[in-house]
């Protein structure tokens, strides 16, 4: 058997090559791609998912800090920060729930659009409440006073 035939047989065994294409440049095996930017790898994988994960943790920690902040320094600064952090944390949280349970491209797009609308209205409502009413910190204080 010539070299080409041998190569194709071993490539089938390795299961890293699926499609056949002319003039392909630098096709790296899937394993290299999974392990990210190694010195062998010249292409790039989007860091969006990784950054999203980090963003989620950052917002979680910020929200955690806003608990004592709201208790010791109630006021508009904490009110609006709380509105933003709560809305974003909830938006991303519900987003994860939807990703887990909703499947199929059109359904995913639909529910995510609905979630975006809900989060927008939520943030608007909280800001409205902060501006025109007593504000989040005061509201919690009043609720608990009785």
């Amino acid at each position: 058997m010539d070299e080409h035939a041998l190569f194709y047989r071993s490539s089938l065994l390795s299961r890293t090559l699926v499609a056949q294409q002319k003039d392909q440049d630098c096709p790296y095996p899937l394993t290299a791609r999974i392990h990210g930017s190694s010195s062998l790898y010249a292409g790039s994988v989007s860091k969006a998912a990784s950054l999203h994960w980090t963003g989620e943790r950052v917002v979680s920690v910020l929200l955690l800090a806003m608990g004592p902040a709201a208790y010791y320094f109630p006021g508009p600064a904490v009110d609006y920060s709380l509105a933003a952090a709560l809305t974003l944390h909830g938006h991303w949280g519900i987003g994860q729930v939807l990703t887990d349970y909703v499947h199929g491209e059109p359904k995913i797009k639909m529910v995510n659009a609905g979630l975006f609308l809900l989060s927008t209205v939520t943030f608007a409502g909280l800001c409205y409440f902060n501006y025109n009413d007593v504000g989040i910190c005061k509201a919690v204080a009043l609720l608990w006073s009785k």
Partner: protein
């Protein structure tokens, strides 16, 4: 020769560089993302109308499982509550103290009042404390099974205690 090529391919070495073009000119690695693969899976199985294998109904429930779904449940509940509050703020006439007095005028009694406060305080404290537990996991700590159970019990006990404290002392 085949053995040599198989070894190189598995290690993913420079066999695929352009200088080896004679060997790999007509080959391309798998280009599907995890997302695409998931969508293909669901599209195929839905199209074939396949039933889902029993999972939640047959697997023995464990404490970590229950705590995890409770974390999700409290999260969804709290988020829904906040959204409902925001919507009402936009839609209802009158201000917050007015509606608070309205609720107080119903004079529900101390027992029901405490129950309602617990109904708000417990989800907040549980979700917060379990959230901290999650952040520890995210930093790589506490994955050993005994640790998982221990931290779980701590979260449950502290959640109940802080909720009771919030009702009793605030």
């Amino acid at each position: 020769m085949a053995l040599l090529l198989r070894t190189f391919t598995r290690q993913g070495t420079c066999l695929f560089r352009p200088q080896f073009g004679i060997l790999c000119r007509h080959a391309v690695p798998m280009g599907t993302t995890a997302n695409e693969e998931m969508n293909t899976f669901w599209a195929k199985n839905n199209k074939l109308n396949r039933p889902m294998s029993p999972h939640l109904t047959i697997y023995k429930w464990s404490m970590p499982m229950m705590m995890s779904i409770t974390h999700r449940g409290t999260g969804v509940g709290l988020s829904g509550g906040i959204s409902a509050f925001a919507l009402l703020a936009l839609v209802l006439p009158g201000n917050y103290p007015y509606y608070l007095d309205l609720i107080h005028s119903l004079s529900v009694g101390p027992a029901l009042l405490s129950l309602a406060k617990f109904g708000i305080a417990f989800p907040v404290s549980y979700h917060t404390l379990n959230g901290i537990r999650h952040l520890f996991w995210d930093s790589g700590k506490g994955f050993k099974i005994p640790e998982v159970y221990r931290s779980g019990y701590v979260v449950i006990v502290l959640s109940i205690l802080t909720s009771i404290a919030a009702i009793a002392y605030m």
